[in-house]
Symmetry: C2
Subunit: 427 residues, 2 copies
């Protein structure tokens, strides 16, 4: 069913790196599809706005279509004509969280790729923009490879998106700066709350997202400047979680301050690689009920129960959940701007003949912060997972380093809110 | 030990209502103590700023002292001289969450009241400003009564403060508008997230604070305007929680929209008055493990497990916890202004001879919103709990009414963020 093309068009879409615009690629005229994938973010709609606004500027793109619920809408031929949207709505996407087209976590089957290409041919789709994480870049790459095999000229460009910040080959990921800002502010707030009411609620645990990497939990650590400032401890999955060590570290903070605010990543694992929420007999001694019947709401809940049972103080957790990744009020302006930029650059690069590439963010300088976009073959990003480098985690494995703060600071956008501390001179 | 005074001063401090400033009370000169109690809020420091700034204007108040950790600091004589703070820090309190002096949940013992009065006499304290909920107004009242019995001239004024909004005799409570704004925004965000990724994460539950009243959960319901808008269901403790009914209502929303965002109060109870988290054999059938071993992280976790077990869809919860009540980024400007005002008015009323009263907020008109302060005897607020009136909860007991929205709207300050919705015209 796929319409066969050949020659130059095919060669132009090969996976080999190639300079942008070099050789003046032939114009390729047809529809574009944009789709959003995986977990929503505060700025993936900014990328969508960038794609749509840029696409509408160019004659080569005859229609800009949005797929309902990511690749699922491509498979089911559920496409929206985004050219018919009110331009004010497209601009308003830049202040609208989550994913306006809908996303999915659908795992593609082998014969799905052919279906995608068939749909492309049916609608004369010549541009495919897919915003997502490493799974999505893999999808983008596989569609690109099949198109190449079938001699169908389409330019597939990946748009990086993930709050987890775990994509390879890009300095950081759109979505991360905003979740980082949100979790940093929420942790500051929870820390001030803990500081105020520690005589009753002594330990506060912030459970952050982040899957197998600690980027978000680490961002929760950013507001810690003086000993007083929360969070006092930060635990990331890049280091194995050891219960004895953890409880000792909490007790140390309690001895010093009488309170403790802790950030923990949802993806913490013990030394054997098991998630700490997957209860092992090894860790069961840290809980009240040793019979294996305890079911926990997650890492925050579990850590609180261990603290209460072993250190005999009250511990409560906050789990902002999806509210941390979908906050426009706490959006990073830098993140929103960059997300918009990668959307636009996806279109511009496709029009220059780029194919099977993901747009990257390249930090040219940190102070002043300067960031431009680059390109990387989708295959180099697909399924890879970038963990935090060792230099961003302190030697004790219980907090972040200044090097990480330097990395994160510009991504947060405006400075974090400033809260005062009284001098508290005795009367 | 308490210094005895008598005559006019004593009579002026009776609990009888009396017009402000009527009769021109004698000047009373001495120190003032201000203390913060109970759960922190986003604006209790605004009240503190109001008290301090107003106190510093008046010669009658020789020193303005802050008690460390609420009444505990009064008992232990741990007082800060707030007159020695940098005025910029005092002003900065208006943008600093939680409770800068520290709070407590200490339950006073019978002989503590005498200790308090002894400390007052020792420091020549003639003004006592106590910001807190109904427990704190009770404390304020008991101190006032003892002072009266002992003929010690002190003006005790309660400052309303609670995110729970459950104080009697005041239209609303400082702290509520801000938590309401925060939880409304977080629920909007979580709702948009749920709407984007419902093919994978089908149900989203927001667990809100609020203890035994539904004011905060109800505020989470505010952003619901069209059928699309989250939250689709809202459950408050004012109505008994019935599992069968609840699951049926969730299924109805799923049938209609394919997804569901739900706000639940932490204080939900079954018909027999038991918290739903206090597992009864009656409710155990709604859970996977019928042996009574399931321990839950809270209402959100429990409700999700029931949905997953009975409706066979994925359900996840957000529990913003203390991050909802301590957010300055999401602070309501109206709330912050009113909290500051009640702090100032506490001082002004004390200087006019008022005693054993709590400052109230009196809504004079709703559109345009106009709110002034009043006074009520502390005894009428002490230990009382204002629940949501029936007219604020819909007939089905699963959402709020327009009447509640009208009540809440002005308290939220600025309008909530506006998010766009695409028209989604088929290609």
């Amino acid at each position: 069913m796929a319409k066969k093309l050949k020659g130059a068009a095919l060669r132009r879409s090969s996976g080999r790196p190639r300079a942008q615009g070099a050789g003046g690629p032939e114009r390729c005229r047809g529809a574009a599809i944009v789709a959003q994938s995986g977990g929503p973010t505060a700025v993936i709609n900014s990328s969508l706005a960038g794609v749509v606004q840029e696409s509408l500027k160019h004659d080569e793109i005859t229609r800009i279509l949005g797929a309902k619920n990511g690749i699922m809408g491509v498979l089911s031929d559920e496409l929206y004509d985004l050219g018919k949207e009110d331009p004010a709505s497209i601009e308003g996407l830049r202040r609208t969280p989550a994913a306006a087209l809908g996303t999915c976590r659908y795992k593609l089957k082998e014969d799905d790729y052919q279906k995608i290409l068939d749909l492309f041919a049916r609608h004369n789709v010549r541009y495919f923009f897919y915003a997502g994480g490493n799974d999505s870049q893999d999808t983008c790459h596989k569609v690109a490879m099949l198109a190449q095999r079938e001699d169908y000229d389409v330019r597939c460009i990946g748009i990086p998106k993930t709050v987890d910040n775990d994509l390879a080959k890009t300095d950081h990921c759109p979505g991360y700066g905003s979740v980082a800002r949100a979790i940093a502010i929420m942790t500051m707030d929870a820390g001030r709350d803990n500081e105020a009411i520690y005589t009753s609620d002594t330990v506060k645990v912030m459970e952050t997202m982040g899957r197998n990497t600690g980027w978000i939990a680490a961002a929760a650590g950013f507001p810690h400047e003086t000993e007083e400032d929360a969070p006092h401890l930060v635990y990331v999955p890049e280091r194995p979680f050891v219960w004895d060590k953890f409880l000792g570290e909490v007790q140390n903070v309690l001895d010093r301050l009488g309170r403790c605010t802790i950030a923990v990543s949802e993806g913490l694992r013990e030394a054997d690689g098991q998630y700490i929420t997957a209860r092992t007999s090894e860790s069961s001694k840290f809980f009240a009920d040793d019979f294996g019947h305890v079911q926990l709401g997650g890492v925050g809940d579990m850590v609180c129960k261990a603290i209460e049972h072993n250190l005999n103080v009250k511990a409560r957790f906050n789990k902002p959940g999806t509210s941390q990744r979908a906050s426009v009020v706490m959006q990073s302006k830098t993140d929103a701007k960059e997300a918009y930029l990668v959307g636009k650059m996806a279109v511009k690069n496709a029009l220059k003949g780029q194919h099977d590439k993901m747009v990257t963010l390249v930090r040219e300088s940190n102070d002043p912060y300067k960031c431009v976009t680059g390109l990387v073959p989708c295959a180099e990003v697909a399924l890879a997972e970038k963990r935090m480098p060792a230099e961003y985690i302190n030697a004790e494995g219980n907090h972040i380093t200044e090097a990480f703060k330097d990395y994160l600071r510009p991504l947060l956008g405006d400075p974090l809110p400033h809260y005062v501390r009284l001098r508290k001179l005795p009367a």
